[in-house]
């Protein structure tokens, strides 16, 4: 034990421990980016810098051993500043976006990238779910939003921006016309009451989120219907009111109530609301039109834009003359013009600047033009001229553009050039402002104080929380902003809901944690187009519209919506700018924690094209922080060492040799580099699915792709697996997975994956729509069949095996497996000699890997080697991993090497035992000194029976079979051990009238032997060309139903159906309909229970007595040694056993 001082506090710890770990033991978290528990200290990031008394400079906490008497400062100002600077420097060269620029541009911060990716994957309802986390009105916003997001879309550097707004609408339409709509789960009622004034987008949004959270929400609306500006400002042809009705109805599903025709200030007062409710949100909008200050504005025929639109929507009679002028350049002006045109008028829009400066969306202006609206640009009305109180003409002045004003647009300047034009109607749509007469009234004051207003008559409220500072009053939307967009109003409503919820839960209204955001550049135009050269141009899919000629005369919705295929293709154009690991990124976490100011060191950045050439690993060197974890894990632990540093100085970066693609290297695709990357420089890819940064559901279970049964963590989105990673925590496989486990599962999502039955017709597979048909086929064939056989593969779970055993029994058939073979050592399963567990391996002093082994086994062995065990490889495989071996035997075939080793051990025995005669042999002994604590590992499916025999005999000579000593055979089948226990044995293929292949796919040779079978049913996951069956039924994988297996070392592997698949239920249904199962037996839970009971019967490990062992050895059929030799070996073994017994 040593004593050290950390931050002035004396602590005791073990000798040889690093400062980072001592600190952790004492609850002091020191940040680190380059350190990894599996690697030796490296010390490159310097984020773990600490100060040691009397030592010059800093030291790395990860790489410095704590020494007796050391005084360590882990969080002094000096240290803190240095770490902050290290992070700032790293981020100054971190050319990456934490969040996608579209999301940042959106006033409501909708996770666009995620929902677009979900749309690309065809998961529309999930997309809606993502949208509704921040934006509850996608049906409306998908139709009317000006799409600030699209302005920042990086795709526009390649060709055109993604049609984000229209994609949102596509997903929302899918949801609303689906048989069930997405409604978030409502939290239990919390008994608190909220009043909202105004059922516009802001008020509805606030009410929606609060009602979801369990509040009682009442919305007071003065109009007869809800929607606010969306209803009374936006014309039908842009947003059909039926759609709006559906949307509002859906929003009220969780209990939000709307009281119509309630006049604020009249029926209800602010002081009353403040008193009766726990919080109040004012979203009264900006409903008053700002009048034109020109002479003659009172003439008949003069309208104001907002009033015109509202009255039209309310169905009031409006008399328009033939020639109509609309004044203004905003969306309201366009809406007025297009509405007037649809009412049959000849419309001219008058705007004092040019088309370029128009605040209205360009696509709206284009649509108006297409519909025949005329434009007078650089024109300003100066007087309305009338006759007998009626408008007859407008006097206008020509304008020119001057210097830009505060808004950045060029200011219109008068030219003195006037002209006159005849108009019968003028609609002035310049601007709006809130109706605020109520404010000063006493009934609306709280404790004598009234709401504060700005000079534009908007309310003063905090931008983040919408809190007014008065009573419990919050206010947002147009009432706070003045006339703005619906999406901004929604953002205010959501922020208000969040603040109110925090406020009512006694939390600070603003979330104190603001995540750091790394940005490639602040604006789209600052991005260097060069990095986008690698992308192929794919023009934006244009959303279909009604023909201008058709639509100009009616109020039918102009945009008719995407076709499904086009929507998915359009969404697929997304470049995925935001980082998929932005929630788990260590760099972002520390940058947030240390409150990084990144501008200080902004300068050159290293820029690299993103390398997407590898099918499973995306490499984005722009995000790399040169911590070298990937470089080291690949070289020091995994073996291939395919990554390295290139160049020197600032330009140093990590890449495969010569900057080549990873796919041109020896990469074994174990994905470990991804797991160790502290940022998002290395990311997994999914060959079937576009991934996204949205949080996924995480489910932990075992892998079912071989007998090892690694612990995995499955990320699931919308019942689809997106990523598989090694499970967190102390598991035997730690952070190791092989290719299959990490990426191979993707086959269960690919095109050939089947989910319903198929019938063979000649060489084709035809889908069977009705499962009854499939069931009937089975039933009929079974009735006629005299001879029946069932084959089952050990990839099947205990549940499946019990089920199929049951069915075999029911139809009177035998059951066996084609995939396994009978081995002499199987008898030793569950004895003290056999099999070691993975946990037990930790005690081994030597690991011998024989034959081709999976990456996980190699990595586990390597880890044990790094902790001091000896690593011996006997293999013909050529692999970079071989370089790690303390001893490598690859000259002879495996069997030969084993014989030589055996010979050496026999000679050792000879010397020890005096009553042994000379043994004849024909191989030279291979001197390989193995400690007692040696574990032999091999894959029983990949080496010969003779080799296994040799391994067994060698082990019996070397091992004492206590902890860390013995054999751990592995299998490529996830449930081989289960099959042994179930007593399902190896079988031979033959012709029968009826054959059921469960998970089995006979090889060519086996197929010949069954080709005269009358009817073959195959239950499998995929359509396979090699499948010669007549009926194909879908089989669930380890990701698709709750089941269990027994792994190689006797552990129970658990599978949990992360995909919430019903494939297995379907299969059970077919069997039930075929009369093979009762209703009770057709339930998965029935078999789960059976499996549990079966597993509970797990016998204890049998201790073999010497006699039993002798019996076993004498009866082994594979004996290739003469009896004499056997006897001597046994004797040695028995002597050892005797010694052990003492």
């Amino acid at each position: 034990m040593i004593t050290i001082k950390i931050n002035g506090k004396e602590v005791k710890t073990e000798k040889g421990i690093k400062i980072l770990d001592v600190a952790k033991e004492n609850g002091i978290e020191i940040p680190t980016l380059c350190h990894d528990q599996e690697l030796s200290p490296y010390g490159s990031c310097w984020v773990c810098a600490v100060k040691i008394k009397d030592r010059k400079g800093f030291v790395t906490a990860c790489g410095t051993e704590a020494l007796d008497g050391m005084e360590i400062e882990t969080d002094s100002e000096e240290v803190h500043k240095a770490r902050k600077m290290a992070l700032e420097l790293l981020l100054s060269d971190h050319y990456a976006d934490c969040e996608a620029p579209c999301k940042i541009a959106c006033p409501d911060q909708v996770d666009i990238q995620s929902y677009v990716s979900l749309i690309a994957n065809g998961r529309h309802q999930e997309a809606v779910k993502v949208i509704k986390e921040t934006l509850p009105m996608p049906l409306s916003i998908g139709r009317v939003c000006p799409a600030f997001c699209e302005e920042e879309c990086r795709r526009s550097i390649v060709d055109e921006p993604i049609a984000i707004r229209q994609l949102k609408r596509h997903a929302a339409d899918f949801d609303i016309f689906n048989k069930s709509q997405y409604v978030p789960k409502k939290a239990p009622n919390n008994g608190k009451n909220i009043a909202i004034v105004g059922a516009g987008p802001s008020g509805l949004t606030c009410g929606y989120y609060l009602s979801n959270k369990g509040y009682n929400v009442t919305v007071f609306e003065s109009a007869p219907k809800a929607g606010g500006w969306l209803r009374y400002g936006i014309p039908e042809y842009r947003l059909p009111k039926k759609i709006l009705d559906k949307e509002i109805k859906l929003m009220c599903k969780n209990g939000m109530k709307i009281k119509y025709n309630s006049q604020f200030g009249k029926d209800i007062t602010l002081s009353e609301l403040n008193e009766k409710y726990d919080a109040v949100f004012l979203a009264i909008g900006a409903q008053n039109a700002v009048p034109m200050r020109v002479k003659g504005s009172n003439l008949e025929g003069c309208f104001l834009g907002v009033d015109f639109l509202r009255n039209y929507m309310l169905g009031k009679k409006i008399k328009l003359e033939k020639k109509v002028a609309v004044i203004g350049g905003g969306n309201t002006a366009i809406d007025c013009a297009r509405t007037a045109a649809r009412m049959g008028a000849n419309v001219t829009l008058v705007y004092r600047r040019t088309r370029k400066e128009m605040p209205a969306e360009a696509y709206e202006v284009d649509a108006a033009e297409e519909e025949g609206i005329k434009f007078h640009f650089l024109t300003n009305p100066v007087e309305n001229l009338g006759k007998k109180g009626k408008l007859k003409a407008i006097k206008m002045e020509k304008m020119k553009l001057g210097e830009p004003d505060n808004s950045g647009r060029r200011r219109p300047e008068p030219t003195g050039d006037f002209f006159k034009e005849e108009y019968g109607t003028v609609i002035a749509a310049i601007s709006q402002k809130p109706e605020v007469a109520f404010v000063t009234k006493k009934a609306n004051q709280i404790k004598g104080k009234e709401l504060q207003l700005t000079k534009w008559d908007t309310v003063v409220a905090n931008e983040e929380t919408q809190f007014t500072g008065l009573g419990k009053i919050f206010a947002g939307g147009d009432f706070r902003r003045g006339p703005a967009t619906a999406i901004e109003a929604i953002a205010d409503g959501r922020k208000a809901a969040e603040a109110i919820d925090r406020f009512l839960n006694n939390q600070p209204m603003i979330d104190p944690i603001k995540l750091f955001d790394s940005k490639k550049e602040k604006k789209l135009e600052d991005i260097d187009p060069k990095e986008f050269e690698q992308y192929e141009e794919i023009p934006r899919f244009k959303i279909p519209e009604l023909d201008p000629k058709v639509r100009a005369s009616n109020f039918k919705e102009v945009e008719t919506g995407f076709e499904e295929e086009d929507a998915r293709a359009e969404a697929d154009r997304c470049l995925e700018c935001g980082c998929n690991v932005n929630e788990s990124c260590d760099l972002r976490k520390y940058a947030t924690e240390y409150k990084i100011e990144v501008d200080l060191f902004m300068g050159d950045k290293n820029k690299h094209p993103i390398d997407d050439s590898h099918p499973f690993i995306r490499r984005d060197a722009n995000k790399c922080i040169n911590c070298g974890r990937c470089v080291r894990i690949c070289a020091e632990v995994q073996g291939p060492g395919v990554l390295g540093y290139i160049y020197r100085g600032f330009t140093t970066y990590v890449a495969p040799e010569f900057g080549e693609s990873l796919s041109k290297t020896n990469c074994e695709i174990c994905g470990k580099c991804i797991d160790v990357c502290p940022v998002g420089a290395l990311l997994p890819k999914n060959s079937n699915t576009k991934l996204n940064p949205h949080l996924s559901e995480k489910i932990t279970q075992n892998c079912g792709l071989c007998g090892t049964g690694c612990n995995i963590e499955i990320s699931v989105q919308d019942n689809h697996v997106t990523i598989v990673e090694p499970a967190d925590g102390e598991t035997f496989n730690q952070r190791d997975l092989c290719f299959d486990g990490k990426f191979g599962w993707q086959i269960f999502e690919d095109e050939d994956r089947i989910t319903h039955p198929f019938e063979r017709e000649n060489d084709h597979w035809l889908p069977i729509k009705n499962i009854d048909t499939a069931a009937k086929m089975i039933q009929e064939k079974l009735q006629k069949a005299e001879s029946k056989m069932v084959y089952i593969s050990p990839t099947s779970s205990i549940e499946e095996a019990l089920l199929i055993q049951h069915i075999a029994k029911k139809i009177g058939s035998q059951i066996s497996s084609l995939s396994i073979y009978k081995s002499f050592v199987d008898k030793l399963t569950d004895t003290n000699l056999y099999t070691k567990t993975y946990d037990d391996l930790e005690h081994a002093e030597c690991i011998v890997l024989i034959g081709k082994m999976s990456k996980v086994h190699k990595t586990i062995a390597r880890r044990l080697q790094r902790n001091g065990a000896k690593l011996i490889l006997i293999t013909k495989e050529i692999s970079d991993f071989n370089n790690f071996a303390d001893e490598l035997h690859n000259d002879d075939p495996i069997i030969k090497t084993l014989e030589k080793i055996l010979q050496y051990n026999i000679e050792l025995v000879k010397e020890e035992l005096d009553d042994i005669d000379d043994i004849e042999h024909n191989v030279d002994p291979l001197k390989l000194d193995l400690p007692e604590k040696t574990v032999f590992m091999y894959n029983r499916d990949l080496i010969s029976e003779e080799s296994i025999w040799n391994i067994w005999v060698i082990s019996s000579l070397v091992c004492n079979f206590e902890e860390g000593s013995g054999i751990l055979p592995t299998s490529k089948f996830n449930n081989f051990r289960g099959f042994q226990k179930l007593g399902i044995n190896a079988g031979e293929p033959a012709n029968y009238n009826f054959v059921l292949f469960y998970g089995e796919l006979p090889c060519e040779e086996q197929k010949k032997r069954i080709k005269n079978s009358n009817f073959i049913v195959s239950v499998n996951t995929h359509i396979d060309d090699a499948d010669s069956s007549h009926l194909l039924l879908p089989k669930a994988s380890y990701l698709e139903f709750e089941s269990t297996s027994i792994a190689d070392d006797g552990r129970t592997s658990k599978f949990k159906n992360p995909k919430k698949s019903t494939i297995h239920n379907k299969l059970l249904k077919i069997f039930k309909k075929a009369g093979l199962l009762t209703a009770q037996e057709a339930k998965i839970s029935f078999w789960n229970k059976k499996a549990q009971m079966f597993l509970a019967k797990k016998e204890k490990i049998r201790n073999l007595s010497n006699q039993e062992l002798l019996d076993f050895l004498y009866t082994v059929e594979h004996m290739q040694f003469d009896a004499h030799k056997q006897a001597s070996i046994q004797k040695k073994r028995i002597t050892k056993l005797k010694k052990m017994a003492k």
């Binding site: 490159s44 240095a82 020197r648 600032f650």
Partner: protein
């Protein structure tokens, strides 16, 4: 009478044409039947007057000629053999009066004792100067502990730059328990402008090898590596020859001098990465890995090459060893100051008259090194600063010229002794530009591992660049200092830990020059192009049109005999007009 003619054929001599001179001498001697032995030797240190030829009948009566050419060498030999030596081009002589060489007189040559005197590829030459006697004495008569004590007593400190006591280092390696140990010679000399190690390896390779073998014996190593940069082909060639000769004579190999001591020596050619001069990076490079430093501890003495205890010393350090063993620690310790014993080799460069290689006793004031040994400034422009220790070192101003050559005295100034680069600057050098130059070097040579070094130096360089372009802010100076402090404190190896030194010392001693760039937008030395402005002085311009003709971008206009005008927007500030004007009518500022 028989003459001896020696020609300096080191890289510096060869570059100046000594190869041709040597051939001419051979032909001349043969043709004229002169009784003369023509010998090759290496660099004597006076690179500024190469090719050098020494000629004598008796060694004590020699004349060394400088700037020798194929044309004049015949006359020199003829005149000497006639007893009437030519008195031009004499660099030094002990027969001609008034030809005492000041450069040479104030030096004390221990490391360079044989350089420029013996033939480096002749082991017999080396043996004639008591070569390998120290090795023999060591392995036969002195215990390992006593060798280490002798080196400790001599006060020899590592000449690679940091000045760690050599004896102590050897003791660490000696104390490390291992069957296998290595000794490594660091010949990766990477400082721009430094060529001490090259000269020693080219001129006297055996002295380095002998030092290494003694070191190996002392610490218990049986294998050694000389890590030499591949850009030193002649040094590598001479080393190869020397190793072969030493092996032949039995100084390398098994049972050296009949004892149980075995030693094997290899040369490893480095690719010339500056960071590979750092011990841990150097070892990584020998092992075939990318040259990147690792965390210390473990120190090389505990776990070095392939995990075995390893001792690494620089070329100059090893070249001292045999001398110390033969002459005794006390004799060595007579030279120098209390804490810095012996001599130090410097490579003089820059605006100094006698640029070349010198060796002076520790304790000599810088002033004397520059003005006496170095002969003072090259031009009339006054001294401005001296850069010591290359990119890891610092710039000292005239006020600090009394500083003595001594590890601790130099460290106190903020500069470092370093491996011995000494660049003298006059007022035509801009100190911001100098700092930028060295930082650019270290930035490019950073291995890229440590955050502060990789990105911090880059950001410092960007700030310096901004300042030299007139875009600097006063806050930049604080940022530079803050960055510097963290780079020094937060880097694994010497490269990073010293990289900010040139910036920090110039900021300390020449701060007003930074301020001039930032506040006045001028470069007082007239170096920073972006801040320069060339203008025609109307009173002086006679309209000769020369400037207009020389201007590469045709931005000077004006009629003949009329005052000319420079278009400032088009001017690329190349200075061609300034150089061309014979009437000083162009103002640079």
């Amino acid at each position: 009478m028989s003459l001896v003619i020696k020609v300096g054929l080191a890289s510096c001599g060869l570059a100046a044409g000594a190869g041709e001179v040597y051939e001419t001498i051979l032909k001349h001697v043969k043709k004229n039947g002169i009784d003369a032995t023509v010998k090759k030797t290496a660099c004597i240190g006076m690179c500024f007057v190469e090719p050098l030829v020494e000629i004598y009948e008796e060694e004590k009566k020699s004349i060394t000629y400088g700037d020798v050419t194929s044309e004049n060498v015949g006359n020199i030999i003829d005149a000497f053999s006639k007893g009437k030596p030519i008195e031009e081009n004499v660099i030094m002589s002990n027969i001609l009066k008034g030809s005492e060489n000041k450069t040479y007189k104030k030096q004390k040559r221990i490391v360079l004792r044989n350089c420029g005197i013996i033939d480096p590829v002749s082991i017999d030459d080396y043996l004639a100067t008591e070569g390998y006697k120290a090795l023999e004495k060591s392995v036969k008569d002195i215990s390992r502990e006593n060798i280490i004590n002798e080196i400790k007593n001599s006060g020899l400190r590592g000449r690679g730059g940091a000045g760690f006591p050599t004896g102590l280092k050897w003791e660490f390696a000696y104390n490390a328990k291992s069957e296998k140990k290595y000794i490594v010679c660091n010949a990766d000399e990477g400082d721009p402008g430094a060529f001490m190690d090259r000269s020693v390896l080219e001129g006297d390779p055996h002295s380095v090898i002998e030092g290494m073998i003694i070191g190996a014996y002392a610490i218990g190593a049986d294998e050694g590596y000389i890590y030499c940069r591949a850009e030193y082909p002649l040094a590598i060639k001479h080393l190869e020859i020397a190793i072969e000769q030493a092996t032949e004579k039995g100084y390398i190999g098994n049972k050296i001098f009949g004892t149980d001591f075995n030693f094997d020596l290899h040369i490893k050619e480095g690719a010339g990465a500056f960071v590979c001069g750092e011990e841990t990076a150097l070892m990584a490079s020998i092992e075939g890995k990318r040259g990147m430093p690792t965390i210390r501890p473990p120190f090389p003495a505990q776990s070095g090459l392939w995990g075995k205890p390893t001792n690494i010393n620089n070329v100059e350090t090893f070249a001292n060893i045999a001398w110390i063993i033969l002459n005794g620690a006390n004799e060595y310790a007579k030279y120098g100051t209390e804490k810095s014993k012996g001599t130090k080799v410097f490579a003089l460069a820059g605006k100094i008259k006698n640029s070349g290689l010198i060796e002076v006793p520790m304790g000599m004031p810088l002033k004397d090194v520059i003005y006496d040994v170095g002969g003072g400034m090259k031009t009339e422009k006054p001294f401005k600063g001296v850069q010591l220790g290359g990119p890891s070192g610092g710039c000292l101003p005239a006020e600090l010229l009394d500083t003595i050559v001594d590890y601790d005295s130099i460290n106190k100034t903020g500069a470092i002794m370093g491996s011995g680069g000494m660049v003298v600057m006059d007022t035509s050098s801009c100190m911001v530009d100098i700092a930028k130059f060295f930082l650019n070097f270290t930035q490019n040579e950073s291995c890229g591992k440590c955050t502060f070094c990789r990105i911090g130096t880059k950001r410092m360089l960007e700030i310096l660049t901004r300042i030299t372009e007139g875009k600097g802010k006063m806050e930049d100076l604080d940022t530079l200092e803050e960055l510097s402090q963290n780079i020094i404190k937060g880097s694994l190896c010497g490269l990073g830990q010293t990289a900010p030194n040139p910036v920090l010392t110039t900021l300390k001693y020449f701060r007003e020059e930074y301020i001039a760039h930032i506040k006045d937008k001028t470069c007082p030395a007239g170096v920073c192009t972006a801040l320069l402005k060339y203008e025609v002085i109307e009173d002086k311009c006679i309209g000769c049109t020369v400037c207009a003709m020389k201007c590469p971008v045709n931005c000077i206009s004006g009629e003949r005999k009329q005052v000319h005008n420079i278009d400032q927007d088009a001017c690329i500030k190349c200075g061609a007009c300034y150089d061309a004007c014979k009437f000083d009518a162009i103002k640079k500022g």
